[in-house]
Symmetry: C2
Subunit: 354 residues, 2 copies
Amino acid sequence: KKQYRIAVIPGDGIGKEVMPEGLRVIEAAAKKHGVDVKFDHFDFASYDYYEKHGEMMPADWKNQIGKHDAIYFGAVGWPAKIPDHISLWGSLIKFRREFDQYVNLRPVRLMPGVPSPLANRKPGDIDFWVVRENTEGEYSSVGGRMFPDTDREFVTQQTVMTRTGVDRILKFAFDLAQSRPKKHLTSATKSNGISITMPYWDERVEAMAKKYPGVKWDKYHIDILTANFVLHPDWFDVVVGSNLFGDILSDLGPACTGTIGIAPSGNINPEGDFPSVFEPVHGSAPDIAGQGIANPIGMIWSGAMMLEHLGEKQAAAAIVGAIERTLGERTLRTRDLGGNADTTACGKAVAEMV
Amino acid sequence: KKQYRIAVIPGDGIGKEVMPEGLRVIEAAAKKHGVDVKFDHFDFASYDYYEKHGEMMPADWKNQIGKHDAIYFGAVGWPAKIPDHISLWGSLIKFRREFDQYVNLRPVRLMPGVPSPLANRKPGDIDFWVVRENTEGEYSSVGGRMFPDTDREFVTQQTVMTRTGVDRILKFAFDLAQSRPKKHLTSATKSNGISITMPYWDERVEAMAKKYPGVKWDKYHIDILTANFVLHPDWFDVVVGSNLFGDILSDLGPACTGTIGIAPSGNINPEGDFPSVFEPVHGSAPDIAGQGIANPIGMIWSGAMMLEHLGEKQAAAAIVGAIERTLGERTLRTRDLGGNADTTACGKAVAEMV
Ligand SMILES: CC(C)[C@H](C(=O)O)[C@@H](O)C(=O)O
Ligand SMILES: CC(C)[C@H](C(=O)O)[C@@H](O)C(=O)O
């Protein structure tokens, strides 16, 4: 039987507080379902490490965590002490690029007991995935500034879409759609305004769709698509978008289900050439760090996504089920959801229900 | 006393049906408030014109409408008959560029009698403006494709931000914020991911803010900003964004207030060197055209924005007040809002209440 080796990186702020609960729940699920996991702990990709060493990660970080089966990540960033472009681009964005985690995957699901800002929606009504391209597109480093400090000053930045980059994310999204009961894919575009890259995206979607005759697909311009997330969240099953559009939709989607604080995410290298990173959508939240009140559900749910990715579907499903039951009970919820449990109590409750 | 000359372009589909109601209400308000308006009618920027002449507009379109005080525009586009890049880029986008309408302005306001998809929000809770840069940014025409039809194929498209372009839209937005009771401006950015153009945008916002010490300002990355439109729409007063971010936010905002079908917009050249275009946010809606059931409120409200732009504040306010009273009464609303009035009945009702 395979032993999974997981690199554990708590990071900053509440990342350090929710991580133990994530590990607790994974251990409970692993024990129950006969999964063998071993955790290796790392202190880099954090402000503490940066303060000591003057950099976010050691030079040999790839050797240290590059052979693990997955990376379980808390949260990174502490804007008051260190600029985002050092902390994030020096850790999370580096993982995405250098471990070729070209899929960013996030569920949008209305959960029991979670207040939604949308009127008249109940659990079951909203249940889809956002699939985001995670390595190229609008997040390029090509561009620059000319005529600085004059009236003629201008900046440019290129959006770059490669055939390789676009086709592989579309393939992942179509595969996912094909595996789901509704078999429905929605593509985010803006080809009526962004007249070179976005028509190319549309063209590749059309070509890929031909290989998936069983998948119904449609496309919306990003402006009306964000509107439809609010007006018709029940229309969606799998939504695929470029790096920027996926980024927007995978914050807006969870917001519509009231779950932005508890949503999980995976930064996935589907081929398994490199480890994938699983992390809660929430950040390090310095304002509430140290009080033991953070909601550990995002961390725990990310653990379920990690087990699913490793092929341990039963253990993953057990965790999601335990999350749903916990959220259903007011006394087990943390304060952000109107309950009164602290981080540990909530984590223990989920672990017991697994 | 000045006579205002308005170029009237109904365009396609329901544009032709809602235009008479817009004119009816403007005439009523003008009469009541002693405003002298003269309408000149044009049939171009429509599919009918295109069918006859093989182009969207005559060669001398700028001579024909370039000296008017404003352009009152219905809707253009009929995707089943003519591709968007011909119909839209051949009319609306041309106006924006060639008449240097660098401001796209849209209200986000929760109106009485309009069902909102957000829970527990009432009229008065949501009332802000989206100010969108309308000429440059992500909507550039610089870029291209290399290695076509091979595995190495890629496309690029540049986002272009000029000091002139960024500063003038920020100035407009700060002026607007300064004129409002809350004096609050929010800038849409994504400088943590789009690492060249967006930090430049932030830099110019900071520089401009120094000139407006009375305006409180903040900024959000576009991902969490869309989330906050849903979670905290009461936080906003004036929201300013690039061409793409403004496009997204000015569809999402109206969607949050349930008013996407009745929202107005202005494409404005603030200096008055060229006429500005006022049009409803909705399109030509070929599916419901010809039935007389379209909601004329977007057209009418755009008329109010036009009068406001011309400096006729009383007449403009009278129209907005009449719209609010009409929407409050079920029998005067069109079907899309759960009423049973037809286009003409709704338009007449507003005209009478002006
Ligand atoms: C039709 C399209 C090109 C246009 C835009 O993106 O500018 C529209 O969405 C708008 O907001 O006016
Ligand atoms: C922090 C930021 C660079 C990042 C992104 O835009 O990718 C974040 O918003 C995310 O979604 O993971």
